[in-house]
């Protein structure tokens, strides 16, 4: 199996979808000729044609609306929002329309599509190229929210998302596009080539939505997270020699409550981590559900490890980011409580 980074895996996923189904179309700002500012759609236009992979005007609302209209006619759009920070102009079309077309038409129409978007910080992007706005979408009935954390999953989840028939907000942690990240500021880039999930089949396969994965088994505490922080958590466990069980959620809505509860009920000590600002982030949802589901198993308060309630800063990025050291501290706190 070839080694791919996340960008290559996504590219391969879209290529497979375009090959298999003539109704699939791919579009976004700079996504056509140029292949996207992160190159995720590189080469797809020249291979599949100008009307299947194309550039759009800079209007995210119109991009989402176009997807809705196309889906009503039976197409299967994959739209790119250049940075997750720029999804807000489209949020009315996503929240008020896309997410509800099936419901409000009682199933007569649906808006199956994938909205892909580079997501998260750790790349010195400042406040407008670093956001993790997943919580805005996990609150919306009718949407599925996916955050991938490695090349293998990226491709498999992307294909599964397209096949779900529902609108899927598909966030891609850009910090780890080219290699996993251990959460140590300014650490040299590692490559996906050495990571087991960097091996990606060329052809068709899916990774099931709604299923989390225990990426590291352990007995001392459960760490539940997604995206970039999956790797930071793993690095923290290694670095501090903590026997943590690490759960990569992959799908945020619906999240895999079974896998979570099984682990928490067994271990009773939990860290939930997100990169987004703390208040009303997705970690809060997980904690609210965990305390309901596993109340009597909990031996310590669930530790909520997050970004701060501030815009993502530029120069002090690492003071905002949930680094490896903050993970170690979090794990120790729940273990010692």
């Amino acid at each position: 199996m070839p080694a791919m980074n996340i960008i290559q895996a996504l590219n391969s996923g879209m290529d497979v979808l375009l090959d298999r189904d003539p109704d699939v179309v791919v579009f976004g700002e700079d996504a056509g000729y140029f292949g996207g500012v992160f190159k995720a759609t590189d080469g797809l236009q020249s291979k599949h044609g100008l009307d299947r992979v194309f550039d759009t005007p800079i209007n995210e609302a119109a991009i989402a609306a176009m997807a809705i209209g196309m889906a009503a006619k039976g197409l299967k759009p994959i739209a790119e929002i250049q940075f997750a920070d720029y999804i807000f102009p489209a949020i009315d079309q996503i929240v008020s329309e896309m997410s509800r077309i099936r419901y409000r038409s009682a199933g007569q129409f649906a808006s199956g599509c994938v909205i892909r978007s580079p997501w998260g910080g750790g790349i010195r992007g400042g406040q407008t190229h670093s956001m993790s706005p997943e919580a805005f979408f996990t609150h919306v009935p009718g949407l599925q929210v996916v955050v991938c954390s490695n090349p293998y999953d990226a491709k498999g989840l992307l294909i599964a998302s397209m096949e779900s028939g529902d609108p899927v907000i598909f966030f891609e942690p850009k910090r780890i596009y080219n290699g996993p990240f251990d959460g140590v500021p300014d650490t040299p880039l590692k490559s996906w080539a050495k990571h087991p999930k960097g091996e990606v089949p060329e052809g068709y396969y899916t990774v099931e939505l709604g299923k989390a994965e225990i990426v590291r088994e352990g007995q001392a505490c459960t760490v539940i997270t997604y995206g970039t922080l999956v790797h930071v958590a793993a690095a923290a466990a290694e670095a501090a020699g903590i026997d943590a069980e690490i759960i990569d959620l992959k799908t945020l809505t619906p999240y895999d409550i079974e896998t979570i509860a099984r682990s928490v009920n067994r271990i009773g000590r939990v860290v939930v981590a997100q990169e987004a600002p703390r208040t009303s982030g997705f970690a809060a949802e997980l904690i609210a559900q965990i305390q309901e589901e596993c109340f009597y198993a909990l031996e310590a308060p669930v530790y909520r490890l997050t970004g701060w309630d501030i815009p993502y800063p530029h120069a002090h990025e690492w003071a905002y980011f949930p680094t490896r050291d903050r993970f170690v501290r979090a794990m120790k706190t729940v273990m010692e409580a």
């Binding site: 179309v25 009307d51 759009t56 005007p57 209007n59 609302a61 119109a62 609306a65 176009m66 997807a67 809705i68 209209g69 196309m70 009503a72 006619k73 039976g74 197409l75 102009p89 009315d92 079309q93 008020s96 329309e97 077309i101 099936r102 419901y103 409000r104 038409s105 009682a106 199933g107 007569q108 129409f109 649906a110 199956g112 009935p141 009718g142 599925q144 779900s164 028939g165 529902d166 709604g210 809505t253 619906p254 409550i257």
Partner: protein, 409 residues
């Protein structure tokens, strides 16, 4: 600071309650004056059409000029019949709303031609993305009235399972997209649909309608930008009925010459049309659909009309405009005008009209009886409660399964 005088300009409508409305200041092009160019002319050549007024029926109700679509009496009588039905339906539903049979209603009084003529000029396979004031399309496309009513009273036969406010119809079979409560959102969606038509290589097009007030939304701009960029086969209708709830069209139009002229800046063909003239609306829609189908791209059509009644059952227009405005409206009543045109051509008479009204009233009354037999909002039966958990996703996940259980349904 406050002296009651504006220091930036806030546009006001010509008349407010207490004023005597007089629309003679409106310099409207007369029927027949605008000439009909080839549908594939350059958008830039539609400048005069965008500030003029495409009209066919003159003051004496004769069809004049090059926009005359030369429709047969049968077609015209069909149009008249749909419009009469629309109006009677609206009246009846309003009454029923007042009686508490439904939570809310919105009439289209005075704007029947905008919907009916356009729907008749389109092909049945063309997809429509309407706003909440084009119920006429449904009649023109032959929707079952009982079904429409069952939706409005949210009963057990409501095809939307009681999920939507009344008048927010969906009818996939009739190529009628789900109506949104959010203004303007359907405009760029229609363009996406139209692009998909071209992509699929079929002959179909899309049409959408928004109010003049809603043109201020960003989605209006998104729609026109997409339509222009991808030369999409879509008809983008702006129903300028002069009012957006209490807000005058002056607030939306500002210093712009007309709403239609906004299309020119996008390189989209643009027409302003007498929206109370069935023949003009029909002709303009035909022109635009021909343009779209032949690869000429989108047309923006401003339908110049007047909202004859309240915005909805939630407002009282006498608070913000003179009661007499509709009577003084220089473009008259679309039903009356088409009726007189037919009578003038000896294809209709008062008796037949009276009978048509009777028939339609009977149909509506009868339909309502049948509809009510399937329940009403307050007395039920409704769709089973557990259906509130359906259609959120293709398949419900554990959250919805648990929540349904929690509710005990």
């Amino acid at each position: 600071m406050s002296n009651g005088q504006s220091r930036f300009r806030v546009p006001a409508p010509p008349y407010r309650p207490g004023d005597e409305p007089d629309f003679s200041y409106l310099e409207l092009q007369k029927a027949g004056e605008a000439s009909r160019p080839d549908p594939l002319i350059a958008a830039s050549q539609t400048g005069e059409l965008a500030t003029g007024l495409v009209g066919v029926l003159d003051r004496d109700h004769r069809a004049v000029g090059s926009w005359n679509p030369e429709l047969s009496p049968e077609v015209l009588r069909e149009g008249l019949s749909h419009m009469v039905l629309t109006r009677i339906y609206d009246e009846r539903m309003l009454k029923l709303q007042r009686q508490g049979k439904m939570s809310f209603y919105m009439k289209s009084t005075g704007e029947e031609a905008v919907a009916v003529a356009a729907a008749m000029a389109l092909k049945p396979g063309d997809m429509v993305f309407p706003s909440y004031r084009q119920q006429g399309i449904l009649f023109a496309r032959g929707r079952n009235i009982v079904d429409m009513m069952c939706h409005c009273i949210s009963n057990s036969r409501d095809n939307l399972k009681g999920r939507q406010l009344p008048v927010h119809y969906t009818w996939a079979e009739g190529k009628f997209f789900s109506i949104s409560g959010n203004l303007g959102t359907q405009f760029p969606q229609a363009v996406g649909y139209a692009m998909a038509c071209t992509y699929k290589g079929d002959d179909q097009i899309a049409a959408s309608w928004i109010g003049e007030g809603a043109t201020a939304e960003g989605d209006f701009h998104g729609a026109l930008t997409l339509a222009s960029t991808y030369r999409a086969p879509v008809i983008l209708n702006v129903v300028n009925n002069q009012w957006a709830i209490s807000t005058t069209q002056n607030i939306a139009v500002g210093d712009a010459p007309t709403f239609a002229s906004k299309g020119l800046g996008y390189g989209v063909a643009s027409l302003r049309v007498d929206g109370n003239d069935f023949l003009a609306v029909y002709a303009a829609t035909r022109w635009a659909s021909e343009r779209a189908r032949k690869g000429g791209g989108a047309t923006l059509i401003e339908l110049f009309t007047y909202r004859g009644d309240a915005h909805s059952t939630s407002d009282d227009p006498s608070r913000y405009r003179p009661r007499t405005e509709f009577d003084r409206w220089p473009l008259g009543d679309p039903i009356e005008r088409l009726k007189q045109h037919l009578i003038g051509g000896s294809a209709w008479d008062e008796d037949r009209h009276a009978r048509l009204e009777e028939q339609m009233t009977a149909l509506v009354v009868q339909s309502y009886k049948e509809a009510e037999s399937h329940g009403t909002l307050h007395e039920g039966p409704l769709t089973p409660t557990e259906t509130i958990f359906e259609d959120v996703y293709a398949k419900p996940d554990w959250r919805l399964r648990r929540q349904r259980q929690d509710l005990g349904v």
